[in-house]
């Protein structure tokens, strides 16, 4: 697949997968981070973290939960949360079955709780990590009004808190298949930062159920530079295949034959 390539202006024509654009976009949000942790179900954020680490010359710690080759913790449970509570995790990723304009996220379900018509897995660590990790990057590839709603049906974790609530962390940005939003914690609103190549502001507006701020001039999300793409394909793809073998096989065409860790 080579989406985006034909639509880029004033740039060298390089084929890249949409996943690669997202990887590069997310990696850019990790600049200056000392330690980023990534959940098991997050191959694009995971790849982005590994790319950011490669770009930082290795001077960044990446903890991919459930990776069997790079153990970071000596404990498979509590340590991640304690480590975050100590302020030793600078960035983390969260998604959401629903996300609203105040950056509230819903990982529980659609309809009236508890017996909802659609039930998802549950809130996992969101209601804690969203409070204590300084740079939480929301990532959701599907950009539709089904996901980006005016108000979530269930707040797994609130986007903002009252001033007296201890909250060193919170939403930093939202990356979707269409665009990149920043989050303004004071205004409690998203702000469109850039629209991905091949997509338009109108498309973003049509598919977003909440209001957001729009700058006077809407930028285009920069396409991956050739050197960055090479880094992804030569290095990140191999590393990411450990934690996300299916993803690595589908996107990069490499990997193992089995998904089960031994």
């Amino acid at each position: 697949m080579s989406a985006g390539s034909a639509l880029q202006r004033n740039k060298p024509i390089v084929d890249y997968a949409p996943e690669e654009l997202l990887i590069v976009t997310v990696a850019r949000l990790l600049e200056g981070i000392r330690h980023v942790a990534v959940g098991t179900a997050s191959p694009i954020p995971g790849s982005a973290a590994l790319l950011a680490q490669a770009l930082a010359g290795g001077d960044m710690r990446v903890s991919i939960l459930g990776s069997r080759e790079s153990q970071v913790w000596s404990d498979t449970g509590v340590e991640l949360f304690d480590c975050a509570g100590q302020g030793r995790i600078d960035a983390f990723f969260l998604g959401g079955g629903q996300i609203d304009g105040q950056a509230n996220i819903n990982l529980v379900g659609v309809g009236d709780y508890p017996h909802q018509k659609v039930r998802w897995a549950g809130s996992f660590g969101s209601a804690y990590l969203y409070f204590v990790v300084p740079r939480v990057i929301l990532f959701r590839e599907e950009h539709t009004r089904r996901v980006f709603v005016p108000k979530v049906d269930f707040i797994s974790a609130p986007g903002t808190s009252a001033p007296n609530v201890y909250r060193p962390g919170g939403p930093w940005a939202l990356v979707t298949g269409l665009c990149l939003f920043g989050f303004d914690r004071d205004k409690r609103r998203f702000r469109l930062e850039s629209v991905h190549p091949g997509h338009t502001l109108e498309e973003v507006r049509d598919n977003t159920g909440f209001d957001f701020d729009i700058p006077d001039r809407v930028a285009e999300t920069p396409a991956p530079a050739p050197g960055t793409l090479a880094l992804i394909r030569d290095r990140v793809a191999v590393e990411v295949a450990d934690a996300y073998p299916h993803f690595a096989k589908r996107v990069f065409g490499i990997g193992r034959e089995t998904e089960a860790a031994i």
Partner: protein, 276 residues
Amino acid sequence: MTSQIIGSDLDDLVRRIPNGAKLAIPKTDCAGAMAATRALIRRKAQNLHLIVVPTSGLQADLLIGAGCVETVEGSGITMGEYGQAPCFGRFVREGRIKLKDSTCPAVYAGLQAAEKGIPFMPMRGLIGSDLAAYRDDYTIMSNPFADDDPIMAVRAIQPDVALFHTPLADRHGNVWVGRHKPLMLLAHASKETLATVEEVREDNLLDDPVYGPATIPSIYITAVAQAARGAWPLGLTGHYREDSEHFAEYMRLAATEGGMVDYLDRHVRRVGVAAE
């Protein structure tokens, strides 16, 4: 505090899980005691209050689909890359189970309170989440060392029984857990702890300077049963892989009520299944 029965009779083991018990099980990747779980379904366990620590997958979904569960407490039920948990979703939609939705560190915090014999643990986060809105065992209190600093108090969680599977135990009833230290927390916090293991060694694991630190002392262990491939179809780190074909079959059958009956007949209720 009773002595450890070390045998291989899973029916005997799960008889120690009464109907209505608060049963705690670990994360899927900590290796659930699946063989024992099937024995529990065969003995027609009822009205369990299932505490998943802090999440679960096939094990919880199976217990729910088999009608053993009244309440699910924890922060997530997912089949991971296979998709949403089918029975969990169906039972929620149909109002057939009660929910105590949580967030992972709050599950740990509740167990840690029980581990320490304190009535609650303070915890950052959670304030403003609907999780707290629906739980009367989470309440906002004041940090006594600061002005105007609200903090969540998470009430202690003391399971009646913890059940899990690990690679190794010894004849004295000490159970090695390796990196899966939440299993230690579970054993400390629970009134009783049942473990299945792949292998039982003769020598005392606690006395081994390398194994000892990752071993649950027998004082916390009610009973141990040997169960080869006891985590199947889950994987067990260092021993065997997740059976992805079986997962695919589960996803296909468990998608409907009728299919689930078929699955249970085929893989749980039939005598002689998987060497049980």
